[in-house]
Amino acid sequence: MAEAAVSFPLTTAREGQRRAAAREARIAWLLAAPALVLITLFIILPVVAVVVLGFTDFELGYDEFRFVGFENYAELLSDRGFRISLWNTMVYAASVTPFSILIGLGVALLIEGETRGRAFFRTVYFLPVASLLVAMATVWQYMLHPSIGPVNMVLAFFGIAGPNWLGSSDTVIPSLALIGIWQSAGFNMVLFLAGLTAIPRELYAAAEVDGARSGLDRFRLVTWPMLGPTTLFVVVISVINSVKVFETVKTLTEGGPNKASEVLLFTIYQEGFVYLRVGYASAMTVIFLAILVVLMFLQYRVLDRQVHYS
C-alpha cells in the first residue's frame, strides 16, 4: 500500500477543509432555523407592525384605516389620561424598586450571617415569588379591606383608623406598591444570596487583619463592592419588572379610583383590547417599549462602568 501512503496534494486538503466548513455552516443554519423563523414571526414582525400601526388610526372591527403620521403621538402628548398613567407608573416603579432591593439585600445579609434555619427563612421569603400573583393580590385585597381586613383591625388595636387602602386615591398606589414589594423582595433576596456566597472568604479575613473591625466596615470594604455586578443585575431587573406592572391593577382596581392607579400596561390594554383603538394603542406601545429600552441602556451604561474590575 505504499502508493496510498503518498501525501495528498495541498489543494485537496484545503478543498476538504472548505467543504467541511461549508457543511458545518449548513448544519448550523438548519439547527438555528426554527428559532430564526419564530423570532421573525413573533418578535421582529410584530415589533415592526406595532411601529407601523402607531402611524395609523386602525381600529379593530373596521376594515378601512389610513396613515395619520404622528397624529397619534400628538394626541398622546395632550391626553391627560395617558399622562396620569405615565406618572402613576413612574411613581409605582420608584416606590417598589428601592424597597424591594433594600429588603432583598437586607434579608440576604441576615440569612447569610445566620447558620441555623437558613432554608426555612429562604423559603418563606421566596414563597410570594412562587405564588400566583392574581391569587395573592386577591388575598391582599382581603387583608387591606377597610373594615374586615386584618391590617386595619391591627391598626385599630393601636388606636389608628386605617384608611380604605385600595379604594382611596391617596393610598391606592402605595398599597399596590406594598404588594409589589412583598411579591418581588424574595426574588432579589435569592439573587443577592447567590452574589454573597460568591465572595471569597479570604477577602473578609484580609479585611479583618487590615483593620475592618465592625460589620459595617467589612460591608463597605468587601461586601458592597463585590456585590456590584449582582446589584446591577438586580436593579435593572427590578426596574423593568416594576414598569411592567399589570396583574395587580387589573385584578384589584381596574385603574381606579378615578384613574388613580392607572398604569401604562393597563392603559394599553384598555385602549387596544377593550376600546379596540389598535392604532392609538400601538403608539402607546411604542412609547412603552422605548421607555423599557432607554431604561435598560441607561442603567447598563451608567452603572456598568462602576462595577467592572479590570
Binding site: 439547527l31 441576615l110 392574581v134 388575598v139 412583598w182 385584578t251 390594554y269 383590547f273
Partner: protein, 278 residues
C-alpha cells in the same frame, strides 16, 4: 462571623428575620384561616386565626361550583407544558449552533437574542392579536402557546451554558462518528440538564402567572388559565363572599406552592443560575 454563640447580635438577627417572616407569611396565614370561615364570622371582624364556624367544606364547594377549578388547573398545566416543550425544543439546537458551530450568522444571532430580550409580550401583543383574530385562532391552545414558543431568554441562557462546555466533548463525539443531530440529542442535552431545569422553573412560573396575554386571547371559559379563571370567579362572586374567594385562591395557589416546597433547592438554584448568567 461566629454563628455558634448566642450573642446579642445573633439574637437581633434572628428577631429581625422572624419579624419579617411574620409579615411575609401573613397573607398565607390569613388566606388559609379565612377560607374556613363563614360569611358571618368574616364580617364579625374578629382577628382569630382558627375559624370558629368551620366552613372549609362549604367554601371549597362553592369555589368548585362557580368556576371549574380542575379545568383551570388542567389548562394551566397544559399551556405551561406546551410552552416549555417548544421553548426548549427550539432553543437548544439554536444555542448549540451559535455557541459551538461556526457560521456567519452567529454574530447576528447574538444580536437578535440581545434585542429580543428587550421585547416583552406586551409590546408585540397588539399585532399578534389582530393576526390571530384574522386567522380565527383566538380562544385556543394555539393562541395561548404560539407567541411564547420562542424564548430568547432560553437561547441566551443555554448559549452561556454551552459556551462553558468543553469543546473536547463535542470533538470526541464527532470522532465517534455521531451526526450533529445526535450530538445535540445525546451529548448536549444530558449535559445541559442543570440549565434546562433552571429554565423550566423560570418559564413555568412566568407563564403560570401570566394574565395579560390569556386575558386578551381567551374569552371562552373553557380555555381559561388559572389567573384568568380567578378573575372570572371574582366577577361571578360579586366580591363579598370572602370565604369562598379565599378558598378559591387557596386551591389555585396550591399546585405551584407545593411544587416549590417540594423542589425548593431546584427552584432557588434555578433563579440563581439565571441570575448569575444574566
Amino acid at each position: 462571623m461566629n454563628g455558634h454563640s448566642l450573642s446579642p447580635a445573633r439574637l437581633l438577627r434572628f428577631a429581625l428575620l422572624s419579624f419579617g417572616v411574620l409579615i411575609f407569611a401573613a397573607p398565607y396565614i390569613f388566606m388559609i384561616s379565612t377560607a374556613g370561615k363563614s360569611q358571618s364570622e368574616i364580617f364579625s371582624s374578629s382577628l382569630s386565626l382558627i375559624p370558629q364556624t368551620w366552613s372549609y367544606g362549604a367554601n371549597i364547594a362553592k369555589a368548585f361550583t362557580r368556576v371549574s377549578m380542575p379545568a383551570l388547573l388542567l389548562n394551566g398545566a397544559i399551556v405551561c407544558a406546551l410552552i416549555l416543550f417548544f421553548q426548549v425544543l427550539v432553543a437548544i439546537p439554536c444555542a448549540y449552533a451559535t455557541a459551538k458551530l461556526k457560521f456567519r450568522a452567529a454574530r447576528a444571532m447574538m444580536a437578535l437574542v440581545m434585542l429580543g430580550l428587550l421585547v416583552p409580550i406586551h409590546a408585540t401583543a397588539l399585532p399578534l392579536y389582530v393576526a390571530f383574530d384574522r386567522l380565527s385562532v383566538l380562544n385556543s391552545y394555539f393562541a395561548l402557546v404560539a407567541p411564547f414558543s420562542i424564548s430568547v431568554f432560553a437561547i441566551f441562557l443555554f448559549l452561556q451554558f454551552f459556551r462553558a462546555l468543553p469543546d473536547d466533548l463535542i470533538h470526541a463525539a464527532r470522532l465517534d462518528g455521531m451526526s450533529e443531530a445526535s450530538i445535540v440529542a445525546r451529548v448536549i442535552v444530558p449535559n445541559a440538564w442543570p440549565a434546562v431545569t433552571a429554565f423550566s422553573i423560570f418559564s413555568v412560573v412566568a407563564h403560570w402567572n401570566d394574565l395579560f396575554w390569556p386575558l386578551i386571547v381567551v374569552t371562552n371559559q373553557t380555555y381559561a388559565t388559572p389567573p384568568l379563571g380567578l378573575l372570572y370567579f371574582r366577577a361571578a362572586e360579586a366580591g363579598d363572599d370572602y370565604g369562598a374567594l379565599m378558598a378559591a385562591t387557596l386551591i389555585i395557589t396550591l399546585p405551584l406552592v407545593l411544587a416549590f416546597l417540594l423542589a425548593q433547592k431546584r427552584f432557588i438554584e434555578g433563579i440563581t443560575m439565571t441570575g448569575l448568567k444574566g
